[in-house]
């Protein structure tokens, strides 16, 4: 079974690379896009923390930048491996192309990714953002930060949970396409919702903090992993965050499966 999935993954990579490289300019555009996007985000955070006088909600500028970099790495991973498939949902359902997806003998989400592409051109941006994360980490180390192996492990674990939450948020906003006459706004809705994940949770009013932790747990995307990494959260809280993230992601997958079962294929494609 493992061999089957590996072969499928390899083929998907190959197909995505062929498709992306068929349009060589994509590589350049993606690089430029993400560079500007990164600058805009980092610049915004820098301006905000500067306006606040160099510290915001108990976080220093370097710590805030670390959270932003962590958020950006997750963002680039999502763009590369998840975006192509998930954001095709609305268009596929509306145009009837979902027919062929659902006829594949695979889980509907796996079939969806198989019918679309990985954004291979974006891989350089994962590396650039990864480097940026390391730069801010080294800067924090130079300023006296000490981290244990346990904290690094916690960062990896919670970052993975954050990726699952990202995926879940995307599922949450694209799945209504199965139930609506037309829903092509899933992508924009996702970008809007996840854009809040790059801030330390403490900047939000209490009610929003609660929502971002337990209802739409986007805090797990970057702020909570950073909390764990900097030792700012207890094990009990960490376990709660983790449980919420897993539950949220599982529920969104079930929601998507329900949507796929309710699929009403259109007769005239576009």
């Amino acid at each position: 079974m493992m061999r089957f999935y590996l072969k499928l993954l390899k083929q998907l990579f190959s197909l995505s690379a062929s498709s992306m490289l068929a349009y060589r300019s994509n590589v350049v555009f993606f690089f430029l896009f993400e560079s500007f996007f990164l600058m805009a985000n980092m610049g915004g955070m820098f301006l905000g923390v500067n306006l606040a006088g160099g510290q915001l909600a108990g976080w220093t500028l370097d710590e805030v930048m670390f959270i932003s970099s962590l958020y950006s790495v997750g963002h680039q991973l999502f763009v590369t491996f998840c975006m192509g498939g998930l954001f095709s949902t609305g268009w596929f359902v509306w145009s009837g192309r979902m027919d062929y997806v659902l006829l594949k003998p695979l889980h509907p989400l796996l079939a969806l990714h198989a019918a679309s592409e990985f954004v291979i051109s974006n891989i350089p941006n994962i590396i650039i953002n990864g480097c940026l994360l390391i730069v801010f980490f080294l800067k924090l180390l130079a300023n006296g930060l000490t981290v244990s192996l346990q904290q690094v492990g916690g960062l990896v674990l919670f970052f993975s949970a954050g990726m699952a939450v990202r995926y879940g948020v995307a599922l949450l906003v694209v799945t209504p396409a199965f139930f609506a006459e037309k829903l092509a706004e899933g992508e924009d809705a996702y970008w809007s919702l996840q854009s809040l994940a790059k801030y330390p949770t403490g900047v939000f009013p209490r009610a929003m903090q609660w929502v971002f932790t337990f209802v739409l747990p986007i805090a797990t995307i970057a702020a909570v992993p950073a909390d764990v990494f900097f030792g700012k959260t207890s094990m009990a809280s960490g376990a709660t965050y983790l449980g919420t993230a897993v539950l949220f992601s599982w529920l969104t997958v079930k929601f998507y499966e329900l949507g796929a079962r309710r699929y009403q294929s259109v007769n005239t494609g576009a």
């Binding site: 896009f33 805009a40 609506a180 006459e181």
Partner: protein, 289 residues
């Protein structure tokens, strides 16, 4: 006659079509675009709810930032709330997918239908963009009004800005903004004549838009040189310019300078549209899938 008409990207000089026909057809097409947008209520609802959600977060961050530092006077917390309430409205009304629509018309061959009709294709694209702008404007305006009424002090903050600018400044600013948004998207869409896929340039545009429009941070917080550079891009006019105008953060002299630069940007963008259209239509292969 056809080859002549391709020299005029808007094809308004096409002698076989009376201008009244173009106006009537334009009006009908325009209202039908609005109707199409209104049909998909869940799309509109999802967009409005998630945008409101995102801006609530933005506002919380910037409010906290301004409130954390009593020594800074550039932006009061309330002014920042107003900035993002207005920015979200301007961002929302210019949210449309014209560039991808034009790109797919060209790439998938649907342009073939459009160019054999005696009605200018680019005018259709422009009308489609404006129709969506108005639809979203009508939907988002009540939310903006509610936000301004509900947040204590916000209506006074808005009135303060409005009272110090001549009434005609904001309409000029918003028209320049909407035209800049439509034209730049047409430029990106027309790249499909050369590039097969336009989502590369389209995403690049979005990144530049985030950097230079003032949609994710108050644009006048940028250092002076970067702000001056932003003013030579269409993105600044899409959000930053109308919002700063409405808040009274731009003096009359600055307004005249910015509006003049905006008009130059619009003219330059129109020229690019013309060049891309003339070049593209000659090499259009009318391949369909």
């Amino acid at each position: 006659m056809r080859s002549h008409s391709h020299r005029d990207p808007w094809e308004l000089s096409r002698s076989s079509v009376a201008w009244t026909t173009v106006v009537n057809a334009s009006w009908l097409y325009f209202t039908q675009c609005i109707q199409a947008a209104l049909l998909y209520r869940s799309s509109l609802a999802l967009f409005v709810v998630t945008e409101a959600f995102a801006y609530a977060g933005f506002i919380a961050f910037w409010y906290k930032a301004a409130a954390s530092n009593p020594n800074q006077t550039f932006y009061t917390p309330l002014a920042l709330v107003l900035y993002f309430a207005l920015a979200s409205f301007h961002h929302g009304i210019q949210h449309h997918t014209s560039s991808r629509d034009i790109g797919s018309d060209i790439r998938l061959g649907k342009l073939s239908y459009a160019i054999i009709r005696p009605f200018p294709y680019l005018l259709q694209a422009l009308l489609r963009s404006i129709a969506f702008t108005i639809t979203y404007g009508v939907l988002l305006l009540p939310l903006l009004v509610i936000a301004v009424k509900l947040v204590p002090g916000l209506s006074q903050e808005l009135a303060k800005g409005w009272s110090i600018i001549p009434w005609w400044q904001y309409p000029i600013a918003i028209v320049i903004g909407i035209m800049a948004s439509c034209l730049i998207r047409i430029v990106i869409g027309l790249l499909a004549f050369d590039m097969s896929q336009v989502w590369g340039p389209d995403t690049l545009f979005i990144a530049l838009y985030y950097s230079a429009s003032g949609v994710i941070f108050p644009i006048d917080l940028l250092p002076a040189t970067l702000l001056a550079a932003a003013q030579w891009t269409p993105m600044y006019y899409m959000v930053g310019f109308p919002v700063l105008t409405l808040m009274g953060r731009i003096s009359n002299t600055e307004f005249n300078e910015h509006a003049s630069r905006g008009l130059i940007v619009l003219l330059a963008t129109s020229a690019i549209v013309a060049i891309l259209w003339r070049r593209g239509i000659k090499r259009f292969e009318a391949i369909g899938i």
